[in-house]
Amino acid sequence: MTDTWTLYGQTFSNRLLIGSALYPSPQVMSEAIEASGSEIITVGLRRQSPEEAGGQSLWTHIQKLNKTLLPNTAGCHSVKEAVTLAQMSREMFETDWIKLEVVGDDYNLQPDPIGTIEAAEKLINLGFKVFPYCTDDLVICQRLRDVGCEVLMPWGSPIGTGRGLMNPYNLQTIRERLPDIPLIVDAGIGKPSHAVMALELGYDGILLNTAVAQATDPVRMAKAFRDAIAAGRQGYLAGAMPERQTASPSTPTLGMPFWHQQ
């Protein structure tokens, strides 16, 4: 049985969404993305003078990979900027998918939850399929769902920090309370083990960039994440045993009364 998932009506088998920035070169980027097995690539164009197609050369490399593109609004600080850039991206990449990112704090790039909800609603009314990057707040996630987002992307920790899942309890709560919507951990993933944890929690996918692009060996790290995500997903599907307070030997210890063996 193949284990697939669906985002806005499109079905995928790989659960990694990967970014296209910060690699040592376009060639390494292409090799790493191929090695990751990812089927969805995020692209940002805020700083590339999109009005004159300044980034065309890099986009050619990305388009050659023949993957589904998820343009983002990284670097936008207001609802208006995000909506304008989303419209530009739709025209340029011929897709109504948009990863919505409205920056609230400039230093750690924490999303502005209020602006994100407002922009999501506007974009959905304009026919976009919105992938909102948000904090791990249940109520924000519910509001985003209510305005029509069919996928949610709470952070693990702030972008680029590589600190992993800072608050697994919050992430678990979101999963339990919103069992039917695809959930992707976006941002903060630094090591493959972080990805395993997210998938084990029942998250449907991972979105990352820096962890692979800035690794000493990006291509090898991409493979590591491919394997980690597969392991985490299998672990989730297989149903992990619950944690117990005391260590319990799996075979009875010889010579000890059975009531002492618990």
Binding site: P24, P26, Q48, G54, G55, S57, L58, H61, Y107, G160
Partner: protein, 360 residues
């Protein structure tokens, strides 16, 4: 031999001069002027930073780049012998520092540096006292850093001028404001018509894109400031979450601060955001920059190939040199040497792609 070179930025000039020294008859064409004002070479910091650059570009670049300081020492010696010009080469290394909040970036830099370079006696860890000893004006809040003793920088504008003068004095034909639209085997196409040579050499950088579609531009924004209140003796690299920022001293109290790196071929002027980031980084390193004068702000595109390493393509009567990316001064001596050897029939040099039938 009669050699026609399209593009007289750093690469075209250096190659032209070296060919002239070997007795060839050189003609240089460039869309710009004799100071190379439009080139990336004119605005660059001209650092020779094989260690720092190996962090992103890896061991292959390091292997070549670590010779750069001694290669330039020799080239500048030759230049001073054949002209009145003395071009300054600062070979006192560079200092790498980070603000407390970005300490993880310094650690990451150090980790990748050692992965690319291995153990190298040129890399020295600095504490507060060590930083103060090298650069007494850096504020004491910088408590950790690195000294990369094998790095340096040179006075690029003086170099570009000196190369122009020595080419002219040596009888090279120099055609300024003369763009070359196409370079083919033994031929250069200009608005005035096609000219024939024994060898046609393409050093146009991003301008070569029509003949070499894989060439792309990577936008960089850079500022030149004059700061008499500041005395830094060597390039200072500041770890920043998004860029490799550096402050490079030049003669005349000039400091070059750069550079952004954006995957875009836009040549539009420096943006407010980039200027804010560069200037706040500058000010955060030394408060004496507050009253510095901004004497230039530039945006240029670094000519790059998909692996961000250079290539010298060789075929009959045609050489194409490109892809120096952010490593123009670091790699130009090696690229030029490979090109000269290729003209002499030796196609085993570094970065050489020997293709007897080049498709363009």
């Amino acid at each position: 031999m009669k050699v026609g070179i399209a593009g007289a930025g750093l690469l075209g000039r250096l190659l032209g001069w070296q060919l002239q020294r070997r007795g060839h008859q050189v003609t240089l064409f460039d869309a710009g002027d004799e100071l190379a004002t439009d080139s990336a070479a004119y605005v660059a910091a001209a650092m020779l930073a094989p260690y720092s650059e190996a962090v992103t570009s890896g061991a292959e670049l390091f292997g070549v780049g670590k010779q750069a300081v001694s290669q330039w020492r020799e080239l500048l010696q030759q230049l001073s012998e054949s002209s009145a010009h003395a071009v300054t080469l600062n070979d006192s290394g560079s200092v790498v520092i980070a603000h407390e909040l970005d300490r993880a970036n310094l650690q990451h830099f150090s980790q990748k540096l050692r992965a690319a370079v291995g153990d190298d006696s040129s890399i020295k860890t600095l504490d507060r006292a060590g930083i103060a000893e090298l650069e007494s004006e850096l504020p004491i809040r910088f408590s950790q850093g690195l000294w990369l003793a094998g790095e340096g920088c040179l006075d690029n504008r003086a170099l570009l001028r000196a190369l122009h003068d020595v080419l002219q004095a040596g009888g090279a034909e120099l055609r300024w404001h003369c763009p070359v639209s196409r370079v083919e085997a033994g031929k250069l196409n200009t608005p005035a018509g096609t000219e024939s040579f024994d060898w046609a050499i393409d050093c146009r950088g991003l301008g070569a894109k029509t003949d070499w579609p894989e060439v792309r531009g990577v936008r960089g924004e850079i500022l030149w400031v004059r700061a008499p209140e500041v005395q830094l003796g060597r390039p200072v690299r500041l770890m920043h979450p998004r860029y490799h920022l550096y402050i490079t001293p030049k003669p005349g109290d000039i400091y070059v601060v750069g550079a952004t790196e954006i995957e875009s071929e836009s040549q539009a002027p420096v943006t407010v955001r980039s200027q804010l980031e560069l200037l706040s980084a500058l000010y955060s390193v030394h408060s004496g920059f507050a009253e510095a004068q901004i004497v230039g702000s530039y945006a240029r595109c670094r000519p790059s190939l998909p692996d961000n390493l250079p290539q010298v393509q060789v075929s009959d009567g045609l050489l194409r040199l490109n892809g120096l990316y952010r490593h123009g001064y670091l790699l130009a001596p090696t690229v030029v040497e490979s090109a000269i050897n290729a003209l002499d029939g030796d196609v085993t040099g570094t970065f050489v792609q020997n293709a007897l039938t080049v498709t363009s």
